[in-house]
């Protein structure tokens, strides 16, 4: 067990970072907000953590917290600015925000290290720390999927007008989803930087938008469990697909396309459906669970 753990330490760390990144896109999506600002926040977190670690030698958790606070504040500003937009327009505006960030850091001079990025952000962040933070986040999000608050978020997504008329604070929930998305994205970015000790502008590109989105769609977009399934699949798939050799990226594209077309609820949806069918068959008609 420990051998396996040590041999795959990088993949294990990436799984949790990817999970946080996927959640930063999923949280707004659950509230019916189509925002990719989490990718820009990933960049904000990554660069903030690198800068304070290299220049001021802040401890890991302070560096992560700095990125999270800044990205959450930017998230709130974006929520105020973009409140008029909806649907694909909002998606496009937030993609633009995320990609413009990488242009800024390329031109950031000494502070951001230009096109090469920053090196030597060595910190004391451990795998246990990463897992701990992720578990706390997941527990909080799992709570937000249940009971009163879960129903409110679902109402905001499915029918904002109806939700508003029944007294659900639609605007506040949507703004909050921007802030949470910013914090989660920054957390993922900061942890990734501190684990790898480097960050470069190439990391924060269109590819990252694609990766985060595919993780949620293939896994399932309604629950943290879906994001987890997606994060596990897309972190480990490249090493599983090694046997197809050079055609790996082709297989990857086919899988994503098939999932988007034929499994709209994601793998989580398939599992839940299968479970419900199995339970119905296991119980006699009219029986209680």
């Amino acid at each position: 067990m420990t051998d396996w753990f040590d041999a795959n330490i990088v993949l294990i760390q990436s799984t949790f970072v990817s999970l946080l990144l996927a959640l930063s896109i999923q949280v707004p999506l659950r509230a019916g907000v189509f925002s990719f600002a989490g990718i820009g926040s990933y960049g904000v977190g990554a660069y903030t953590a690198a800068i304070v670690t290299i220049n001021y030698e802040w401890p890991a958790f302070a560096a992560i917290a700095a990125g999270v606070v800044i990205a959450a504040a930017i998230g709130y500003l974006l929520a105020l600015l973009l409140s008029r937009l909806g649907g694909l327009y909002l998606g496009m505006a937030t993609i633009a925000y995320s990609l413009i960030f990488s242009v800024f850091v390329i031109n950031g001079g000494e502070l951001t290290g230009g096109a090469q990025g920053l090196f030597g952000a060595i910190s004391d962040l451990t795998t246990g720390g990463v897992i701990g933070v992720t578990v706390v986040v997941v527990v909080l999000l799992a709570l937000s999927e249940r009971g009163r608050i879960g129903r409110r978020i679902a109402a905001v997504r499915e029918d904002p007008e109806l939700a508003m008329s029944t007294g659900v604070p639609v605007l506040a929930i949507r703004q909050l989803s921007f802030v949470v998305s910013g914090a989660l994205g920054a957390c993922a970015g900061a942890m990734n930087t501190l684990l790898r000790s480097t960050v470069s502008p190439d990391e924060i590109g269109f590819q990252l938008v694609v990766l985060a989105l595919t993780m949620i769609i293939v896994g399932g977009s309604r629950s943290w469990l879906g994001a987890f399934i997606g994060a596990v699949i897309f972190t480990w798939l490249p090493s599983v697909l090694e046997f197809v050799g050079d055609w790996q990226t082709v297989v990857y594209g086919v899988l994503v396309a098939l999932a988007a077309i034929f499994v709209p609820g994601g793998l989580l949806g398939v599992l839940q459906q299968g479970y419900r069918r199995w339970r119905r068959r296991a119980l006699p008609i009219g029986g209680t669970a």
Binding site: L82, G87, Y89, A93, V103, A260
Partner: protein, 296 residues
């Protein structure tokens, strides 16, 4: 100055050819095709594969690019977007699935091209076409640029005229306003959707071949960059409007050329993203977009 202007208009014409089909499909049949960039690249790539074996002249290359683009685009529509629309009656959900499906499909031609070229840029050095430079007073113009300008003028003009004057164009615009009512009035939605996707793909194919002639060579990843620029152009001009696409593509190209010539060139990518952001904030329907009227 005049030279920069001509180069900017050439670039704008390429953006226009690429963005027009995307804008048309998005504004009428409601499909934002993320595989458009891959179709564009793969049409050009197919021509490259052919020209490695047979020295083809330029008009034939453009025709091949056009056909490959149209076929790929129709395939994507039939194999991916139609099943998604059938399975998702809710338009917002379908929108998201189409977006993701397009992203997934876009990865396939890209991966194939990257695999076959080993990610090295490809060009048409074996084509029979020779680049000639024409001197017109203070400016120079290559024959490739002339072909690009003519193609953009004819194709964009043709699409604009067809949407405005042809019966099928009217039917297509009717779908854009209200798909269900248009269907009740006897518009064959499926056939028009396929036709629109074919036209969009054909325009992208032509743009891909012309871009490769213009730059000498392109890389497999060029499609992604064009996709994002096309968004900027479409959003700037207003979705579904031909005049808007022309204005958006030209403004984007002029702004980019100005940034490249006036600064160190590092900021050029910020232009398109900055424009998307600014336009969405100030005029969310674009410069020429029509205001949506909802009657209940």
């Amino acid at each position: 100055m005049a030279q920069n202007l001509i180069n900017a208009v050439t670039l704008g014409s390429l953006y226009l050819l690429f963005a027009l089909g995307m804008s048309l499909a998005w504004g009428t049949i409601g499909i934002l095709n993320f595989a458009h960039g891959s179709i564009f690249m793969f049409s050009s790539f197919t021509c490259y594969l052919l020209v490695q074996h047979i020295a083809l002249p330029m008009p034939l290359m453009i025709l091949i690019g056009l056909v490959v683009g149209a076929v790929l685009s129709v395939l994507v529509q039939v194999l991916a977007f139609e099943p998604i629309k059938r399975r998702n009656p809710d338009p917002h959900r379908a929108e998201l699935q189409i977006l993701v499906g397009g992203i997934g499909i876009a990865g396939i031609p890209l991966a194939v091209a990257q695999h076959l070229t080993k990610s090295v840029p490809f060009g048409y050095s074996k084509s029979t076409f020779e680049v000639e430079v024409l001197h017109l007073g203070p400016v120079q113009l290559t024959n490739v640029q002339l072909v690009i300008l003519a193609a953009a003028l004819v194709l964009a003009g043709g699409v604009g005229w067809w949407l405005r004057s042809a019966r099928a164009g009217l039917a297509l615009r009717a779908i854009g306003v209200d798909a269900e009512v248009a269907g009740i009035l006897g518009v064959n939605r499926r056939r028009l959707a396929l036709g629109t996707m074919a036209v969009a793909g054909a325009l992208a194919g032509v743009a891909g071949v012309l871009l490769t002639y213009y730059l000498g060579s392109i890389a497999a990843e060029s499609g992604d960059a064009f996709l994002l620029k096309a968004f900027a152009a479409i959003v700037l001009g207003g979705i579904g409007s031909v005049g808007g696409a022309v204005a958006g593509a030209m403004i984007l190209a002029l702004a980019e050329t100005a940034v490249v010539t006036q600064t160190s060139g590092m900021w050029v990518d910020a232009v398109s993203f900055g424009l998307i952001f600014a336009v969405l904030l100030l005029r969310p329907r674009g410069l020429f977009g029509r205001r949506e009227v909802r009657r209940t």
